[in-house]
């Protein structure tokens, strides 16, 4: 007499958009085995992009990726509020912090990243921003504050400063590098962003490292930077992130600045996959491992890994894309940007409406746009297909970018 066959179980560890997208795609593609989500947070996966934008402005609450009812309708088991603390890849189990053990047939690691903490920068009045809990606390603190300072002129810092100004607060950005968004955009474009912030009333202090931090008697902190200290009611620290890779590392998976996966999101251990901000993924297009922290990419990772977990073997080739909203401006980008590459400008930096392209030979490598999202859409499509581009063509506003796809008549491979 045979036993009734047990249904296969997939366990996803990590409660962000990558996990949620994978679970949704698994069900959509007909997986009818057991699905379990393990998350340290006590809510279902939610959208993080609004947390530094509309959420801080009070225009949006927490937005779930999938409605809480969806998990019940789709029989997805939710194990929330406790982190996974141990993986046993031989026994195929996940252990949570309360000692409970969950068995799996396939495992998806989507553990994300956490804010990089600055040693000595803590205490009352110091905030980091990653989770909805962080955002709720920050929103309340900004509401009660007169002066909001941010340490770090990256995307989080710039978006928080933008929100603070829009809420009628004083805002200061402290950045040791010469401009804002320096690592992402380079100095020329970073300076345009700094100009936007200055014009909006942000006190932008670039090129000056912070040398001290003192709690103020009445609350808040005094930040020492240059000769002119900054007194802030709240200091938001946005100085980058650290991948949550320890769980994978302790289990013996290969990690280096992220969990290493191939273009199918497979780790070296069969049945163990990883996606999202935490992965360092080998991409043949670039010939190296790439770790990106874009919402859109995490979502696409989730969908793509689900199909691979079901045996499809589809390499990930989606073009990376991100956006940032600051004041009335939108920065968006497609491809993998390299802040040190020479930039080809279409439009005008002065008028704050431009696209900055970079080329790899006669192929577009990336674009960063300010207030020209259509260009980014076009480049995103071009990168994914055959095209040819010259710097002169890219500068020429009268040439629609979609013309850069060779017509069949002029493509030598068609006539050959």
């Amino acid at each position: 007499m045979s036993r009734p066959q047990r249904k296969p179980r997939i366990v996803a560890v990590g409660g962000g958009v990558a996990s949620a997208a994978a679970l949704a795609e698994l069900r959509k593609e007909g997986f009818d085995g057991d699905l379990t989500l393990v998350s340290a947070e006590d809510t279902v996966p939610y959208e993080r992009p609004p947390l530094s934008k509309e959420f801080l402005l009070g225009r949006s609450g927490s937005v779930p990726v999938k409605d809480p009812a969806w998990y019940e309708q789709q029989s997805v088991e939710l194990l929330l509020g406790l982190p996974a603390t141990r993986l046993d890849l031989a026994a195929r189990t996940v252990t949570r912090s309360d000692g409970s053990v969950i068995g799996y047939d396939q495992l998806l690691l989507a553990t994300g990243v956490r804010p990089r903490l600055l040693p000595g920068v803590d205490g009352d009045g110091v905030c980091y921003l990653r989770t909805v809990q962080d955002a709720t606390e920050l929103r309340d603190r900004i509401g009660a504050a007169g002066h909001v300072a941010v340490l770090g002129g990256g995307f989080i810092g710039c978006e928080v400063a933008s929100a603070a100004i829009q809420l009628g607060k004083r805002a200061t950005i402290l950045e040791a590098l010469p401009t804002l968004l320096h690592r992402a955009l380079g100095s020329d474009l970073g300076e345009v962003v700094a100009g936007i912030h200055r014009d909006a009333g942000v006190d932008v202090r670039t090129g000056q490292p912070v040398t001290g931090l003192t709690p103020r008697p009445g609350g808040g902190v005094q930040v020492t930077v240059g000769d002119d200290p900054v007194d802030a009611d709240v200091l938001v620290v946005g100085v980058g992130t650290v991948p949550n890779q320890e769980l994978a590392q302790q289990a013996g998976l290969s990690v280096e600045n992220g969990i290493e996966v191939d273009e199918y999101f497979a780790t070296a251990v069969p049945g163990v996959w990883a996606v999202g901000d935490v992965v360092a993924q080998y991409l043949p297009r670039y010939g190296r491992r790439v770790r990106v922290e874009h919402h859109d990419t995490a979502l696409r990772h989730g969908r793509a890994v689900a199909r691979n977990m079901l045996g499809r073997r589809e390499p990930f080739a989606d073009v990376h894309w991100f956006w940032s909203d600051q004041f009335e401006h939108t920065i968006s980008s497609a491809g993998l940007t390299d802040a040190t590459a020479p930039l080809i400008i279409r439009g005008s930096l002065e008028q704050r409406s431009f696209s900055a392209f970079s080329l790899d030979g006669d192929q577009l490598r990336s674009v960063i746009s300010l207030n020209r999202p259509k260009d980014v859409l076009d480049v995103r499509k071009l990168i994914a297909r055959d095209h040819r581009a010259t710097a002169d063509q890219l500068r020429d506003e009268s040439l629609p970018l979609k013309r850069l796809v060779p017509s069949p008549a002029t493509d030598p491979r068609v006539s050959a």
């Binding site: 894309w321 939108t330 999202p373 259509k374 076009d378 499509k381």
Partner: protein, 107 residues
């Protein structure tokens, strides 16, 4: 009884197949999409954050909002990503002379 609310907009000659454009009807910005000769009308506001859809991309039947890459099936108005989104659709018909009429309904 329903009052006639058909408003004259542009001519079909000015909206090629596979193209989209925005027109204003009774103060509402309306997106007109020409899919293989069939014209459909939607609110030009993306259901995500009200970004202008005509600044996005139409590729076959896939309409992509440029702002945050939400994708819709332009033939049905149904979301592709996310799949629970929905465009607001308006009445649309093409007259014998090619005039495109739109009815945005009661205000």
């Amino acid at each position: 009884m329903q009052t006639a609310r058909w408003r004259e907009t542009i001519n079909l000659d000015d909206l090629w197949e596979g193209e989209m454009t925005a027109v204003t009807v009774d103060g509402e910005v309306v997106l007109l999409v020409n899919l293989d000769g069939t014209v459909l009308a939607y609110s030009n506001r993306c259901p995500h954050q009200a970004s202008a859809l005509d600044e996005g991309d139409l590729d076959g039947e896939t309409l992509t909002c440029a702002k945050h890459l939400w994708e819709f099936n332009a033939a049905t108005g149904c979301g592709i990503n996310p799949d629970d989104a929905q465009l607001t659709r308006f009445g649309c018909q093409v007259g014998g002379d090619g005039t495109i009429y739109v009815d945005i309904g009661p205000r």
